[in-house]
């Protein structure tokens, strides 16, 4: 029997149920007819290569629209994307993953997964709870263990000429690190991948299929929480169970919501960044050779990979009907906040479409802009750097084994999910 009544099964499930209701719209899927009026980030064409589409839209129709998802906008200029990220008065974070359900208004300003789903003023306080655990110096403690783990993954690939760098390397690194920070059993990793896919991919699946998947995730989290209530330990789960805001312990949905955010935001994103960097190096021997010869270039190169292959697109909901930069936005329209498109705007970056691994001026927005700046950015940078250092040290020579077999994730987090690389051993 768990002593903390916030996490009694029945009570917790009842509260959870309220968050799965919302306003549904008709699902429209299938090939895009015109990217300016019918765009979709959930189709294979976008997943395979969104950059030419974004570049074309930026010139022809810088705020594109679609009737899909019940109505959504896609700005592609840095300036517009930054303006929306900073304008928390008119754009809400009540939902940040576009789907065919708009969560109920009453969910604001907390949202289902604070602080990413929160609006001011609540957002600030929910975010503040997390910041100390994610500073550069706090995450530095995890570096030796992360490095050792990367080496053990490479050891496991011994004897193979072709390896799947996304599936057998990149994926496992953030999974292991976040499980460690939350205090979850390391062998549960494969479940996390399933949770991530159900939260971020398949946004056009019917709610009848999506809801049970979310319930599975929250069922897992509740079991972990109850175990931590009974056996407190030095990790983020125990920290969140005991944390207080405004003089009382957090709402149970806040504890579980933040845990699910850390799990999902921590894994897919970093996995994508590591994979996309390796994909670039596999097909660009000149950059690979330069980095192998001079590892001190890695920090600058990493920022350039984050700019050019930014994995994360967020979303906002329009608060009220308004005319905004030449278009008529309606209350509850989605707005995709494409940091990848912002990062390739030639008005903001020289040689925006090219990867320049020693770029000196690089104000990229891969980790967002404004109050929601990625809490995990220092952790992600540590993981990405260590993952690339170890890979390049162990496998200085590699190339794409089968370019046609590379598969990219569909949806708002984009990175390679299948990445066969040929390893040339000396």
């Amino acid at each position: 029997m768990t002593s903390d009544s916030r996490f009694d099964q029945q009570e917790f499930n009842d509260r959870l149920r309220t968050r799965t209701v919302g306003v549904r719209n008709e699902v429209i899927a299938g090939p895009v007819s015109d990217w300016t009026t019918d765009f979709s980030h959930a189709e294979p064409e976008w997943a395979a290569d969104p950059y030419p589409i974004q570049d074309d839209l930026r010139q022809r129709c810088p705020i594109a629209h679609t009737e899909r998802f019940g109505g959504a906008w896609l700005p592609t200029r840095y300036e517009d994307i930054a303006a929306i990220a900073y304008d928390t008065d008119r754009f809400s974070s009540r939902a940040i993953v576009v789907s065919n359900v708009r969560p109920p208004l009453e969910l604001a300003p907390v949202g289902g997964v604070p602080p990413i789903s929160s609006d001011p003023p609540f957002h600030h306080d929910a975010r503040k709870l997390l910041l100390p655990a994610f500073t550069k110096s706090a995450v530095a403690h995890l570096e030796p263990e992360t490095r050792e783990f990367c080496h053990s993954l490479i050891d496991g690939l011994a004897g193979q000429d072709v390896v799947d760098a996304a599936h057998d390397y990149a994926q496992h690194i953030p999974t292991r690190v976040i499980a460690r920070m939350l205090g979850f059993p390391p062998e549960d990793g494969p479940h996390f991948r399933e949770f991530v896919e159900s939260a971020l991919e398949g946004v056009n699946l019917p709610p009848e299929e999506r809801i049970p998947r979310m319930e599975k995730l929250f069922g897992y989290l509740l079991a972990q929480i109850r175990d931590h209530v009974d056996n407190p330990r030095d990790d983020l789960t125990t920290y969140l169970i005991n944390a207080e805001l405004y003089g009382s312990k957090l709402e149970p949905g806040h504890v579980a919501g933040t845990m699910s955010l850390l799990l999902i935001a921590g894994i897919d994103t970093t996995w994508s960044a590591i994979g996309a960097s390796l994909w670039h190096l596999a097909r660009t021997p000149a950059d690979r050779e330069r980095l192998v010869a001079d590892p001190s270039l890695l920090p600058a190169a990493m920022e350039e990979f984050l700019r050019a292959y930014a994995p994360v697109t967020m979303a906002r909901l329009v608060k009220e009907d308004m005319r905004w930069n030449g278009v008529d936005m309606k209350a509850d329209d989605w707005v995709l906040l494409s940091f990848p498109a912002a990062n390739r705007d030639p008005a903001q970056f020289d040689q925006a479409g090219e990867v320049v691994i020693d770029r000196e001026v690089n104000r990229h927005a891969a980790f967002g802009l404004g109050i929601h700046r990625c809490v995990g950015s220092h952790l992600a940078r540590m993981e990405l750097r260590v993952a690339l250092e170890v890979w390049l040290e162990r496998f200085p020579n590699f190339s794409l084994a089968d370019p046609a077999a590379v598969r990219w994730a569909t949806g708002q987090v984009r990175g390679p999910r299948t990445l066969p690389l040929r390893i040339d051993r000396p």
Binding site: L131, F134, T135, K136, E360, V361
Partner: protein, 63 residues
Amino acid sequence: MKVKIDPERCQGHGRCYDLAPGLFHDDEEGYGQVTGDGVVPPGEEHTARLAVSNCPERAIDIL
């Protein structure tokens, strides 16, 4: 030359203390802080400019 961080704009991206650790450090929440009085020692001007030109929030000013 002197550097200054606008705390209203800074969101703790940490590019400043990554690129110019002699001039900036983080506080316990990861926000950027100028070390000492912010006067850039001779020879560090380039590093200072590098931090300015990589801050995504344009929160650093050179005075």
